[in-house]
Symmetry: C2
């Protein structure tokens, strides 16, 4: 897996390109002079874990013929602000499902994603973050 990254202004606005030509942007925090135009690096870590888990869950529920009409989530991360570098200590994900879904299957899909399949959330866990999950199902 390979990416290219380049600076695209005189400050910290960065553009990344993957091997398939998709483009994504990042930026520094305002307190160090970032222009706040794009996700900051630690936000990309949370986004990675949230995306990875969502994809796993959608795949698992699809295999079980559960039709997910919509999926949204919020992810919150706390960091150890006393330290440099400042890694995530606690991460909370709240999943919101829409569809006529089996609660048992949804619960199990979330559990399998976090404990077994998702490489991104596992990376954050291995680096010391405690991940907790909650969910709601809107029929």
């Amino acid at each position: 897996m390979k990416l290219e990254l380049k600076r695209i202004d005189d400050a910290f606005h960065l553009e990344a390109t993957n091997e398939d030509g998709a483009v994504a942007y990042s930026d520094a925090a305002p307190k160090v002079g970032g222009s706040n135009k794009a996700f900051r690096p630690m936000q990309l870590l949370l986004m990675s874990a949230a995306s990875c888990s969502s994809i796993d869950i959608l795949l698992i529920l699809k295999k079980q013929k559960q039709e997910v009409r919509d999926l949204q989530l919020t992810i919150e991360g706390d960091r150890d602000s006393e330290k440099v570098p400042s890694l995530f200590t606690d991460i909370r994900i709240h999943y919101k499902f829409w569809g006529h879904l089996s609660e048992e299957k949804v619960k199990r899909a979330i559990e399998l994603s976090i404990t077994k399949y998702c490489s991104a959330s596992k990376t954050l866990e291995e680096a010391g973050a405690k991940i907790t999950t909650t969910y709601e199902i809107n029929h």
Copy 2:
């Protein structure tokens, strides 16, 4: 730090929004049915480490009155494909600088970023990735 994530098609195309309203996209790998329109979760982890390190380096060199005309890099990650989840085992970053820069200062800025300041690359290291760096300076 908080993000929202939502599915925006019937497959795995996801849209994330941060607290400042910036938007970013992710997608699944084609082999599981992703449409390849955006970065995959593990690509976001690499992008996070690359961005974080670039921002650190630009900040350090700015403090030292080193004028970086341009900065680009490539980042490559190997994963343990035998395992599920499949975490990064080796990450290689090659930085390309443009400007009349002190090689000693560039070298030290890269080192400080990876060993001391960058929370995103440290997260990947804590999760088992060995990170190696190389650089070139184009005057």
